[in-house]
């Protein structure tokens, strides 16, 4: 297994919005092995409270040296992480799990909501690099414009041309949910592969729309995780038929085919 435990030195800690941070870490083993959709378990403190490491998607790798994470402060762990300054070192385990599967796909649509956008940036870069000609449509949603911060710009900067936005409060782009953009922007003449990551209700709506349109859909799931390395069995999710052994997000995922898992 190409998994590593690294003492990762903090290179940069950038505050993008009042709640969103971008953290750049020196972690060559993880950087040179990571695939879009994979994640790391990041230490947030040397204290025993919070005790557990936090799962964070790889936002991008920079060369074969650096790993970038993008995270939102939602509780103790992410708050402690945001207080760390360049030069400090944290332990990082990764790259973990299975990423998105791009083999043989040509028309790919990325649908991200909130912090679920973080791994899609890495994915977009990979698609633009490998697919010739690259066909990559990006749909981004958030509650409000401020929550998206610099993300739409970032996608444009790397060459994504088809990018459409939606906000729940209409402060940017479509006034409504991002899933509502799918029928409009996915030309039915293509065989689309939709890759989505974001809040559960959003992904559920995307999956349902994909089913309607007959498009393949890959989803990146989140659960509570104690270990991230398939040891605790805490990250169980039910299979689509609700029977048989549970799937485990850290090992079988975090990216699943939408039809593998149950949408309750």
């Amino acid at each position: 297994m190409n998994q590593f435990e690294e003492q990762a030195k903090i290179v940069r800690q950038e505050q993008l919005t009042p709640e969103i941070y971008r953290l750049t870490l020196k972690a060559p083993d993880i950087a040179s092995n990571a695939r879009p959709g994979q994640f790391v378990m990041a230490q947030t403190t040397t204290s025993y409270d919070p005790l557990l490491r936090r799962p964070l998607s790889i936002h991008q790798t920079i060369g074969n040296e650096q790993v970038q994470l993008m995270y939102k402060i939602v509780g103790k762990g992410t708050r402690m992480l945001s207080a760390l300054t360049p030069g400090k070192t944290i332990q990082l385990t990764g790259p973990l799990g299975h990423g998105f599967d791009l083999a043989g796909k040509d028309a790919i649509c990325l649908v991200g909501g909130g912090m679920g956008i973080a791994p899609l940036y890495f994915l977009a870069r990979e698609i633009l690099r490998t697919n010739k000609p690259p066909k990559c449509t990006v749909l981004l949603g958030a509650r409000t414009a401020a929550e998206l911060g610099p993300l739409p710009r970032d996608f444009m900067d790397i060459g994504v041309t088809e990018i459409f936005l939606a906000t729940d409060d209409g402060t940017l782009g479509h006034h409504g949910f991002v899933a509502e953009l799918l029928p409009k922007h996915l030309a039915p003449e293509n065989k689309w592969t939709v890759c989505t990551c974001g809040p559960h209700p959003m992904m559920k709506a995307v999956v349902s729309q994909c089913r309607k349109q007959g498009d393949e859909c890959q989803v990146s799931l989140e659960t509570m995780m104690a270990c991230g390395i398939s040891a605790c069995l805490g990250c169980a999710v039910p299979r689509s038929d609700l029977s048989g052994p549970y799937l485990h997000v850290c090992k079988d995922g975090p990216v699943f085919k939408a039809d593998e898992v149950a949408w309750l």
Binding site: M1, E5, Y48, A226, A231, C232, L233, P238
Partner: protein, 306 residues
Amino acid sequence: MNQPDLRITIGDLVFRNPVLTASGTFGYAKEFEPYVNLHHLGGVVVKGISLEPRRGNPPPRIVETAGGMLNAIGLENVGVDRFISEKMEYLREIGTRVIVNILGDSLEEYQTLAQRLSEVEGISALEVNISCPNVKKGGVAFGTDPTMAEAVTRAVWAHSSLPVIVKLSPNVTDITEIARGVEAGGAQAVSLINTLLGMAIDVRSRRPRLANVVGGLSGPAIKPIALRMVWQVAQAVKIPVIGIGGITTTEDALEFLLAGATAIEVGTANFVNPRASQEIVEGIGRYMSENRINRISEVIGGLVLS
């Protein structure tokens, strides 16, 4: 000075060092191959195995608490047949002792498991989890009654050629009573503690944070309780005691050894730092060198009372 000698003995078994990994926190060892030199460990205790495969509890199964975590995995496992056919091949090659943790809902299940596993090459010992409810006796855990605990121990012991370690539940009034019952039943060693029963509620949804409502508390939060119980049990029985509960650092491990544990198991710490078990092996060696201690036996039970 020579390299310090970390070897310990349980029954007739010699272990390279006193550091094992706790059941349910180290998968089937393979999961830790990227992080730990498995053959540097004293041994690994694999995830609890039952006769039939178990799905475990529905999610959410874990929740973090102050200095600890609750789990209600519900003993999800592949069952003894698949364990033998799929996991043992790898485990035989890891170069350290393999202890198989077993669990059942009735005496018969424990017996059958003991029998099956005794025939398998590469297993050093059984660790019997008696925290499970006895389905036939109205669901009271085997581990909360000294007579029942003795009976399970005897059943396993009588049906197995392997050394039997019995793993005690801390959710009892007097753990030394249970330990003595288990000793009388023929156990070669006791290991303790398993998790403490706990609960957490999400005040927004007003629902339990675990689908199973209650779960087992582990991690640094429980260390003081575990250490006290290990100290009590070490005085109460003659067989070796394996200390478990919140062990995260070398110092933690040493506390348990000083309290009388012959060996220790690293549990939740494996989640927090996958290299924890190996770091503790190294740390104990360093502590011994620095303090000019030749043999680990000089540490075990070395608590000074004035």
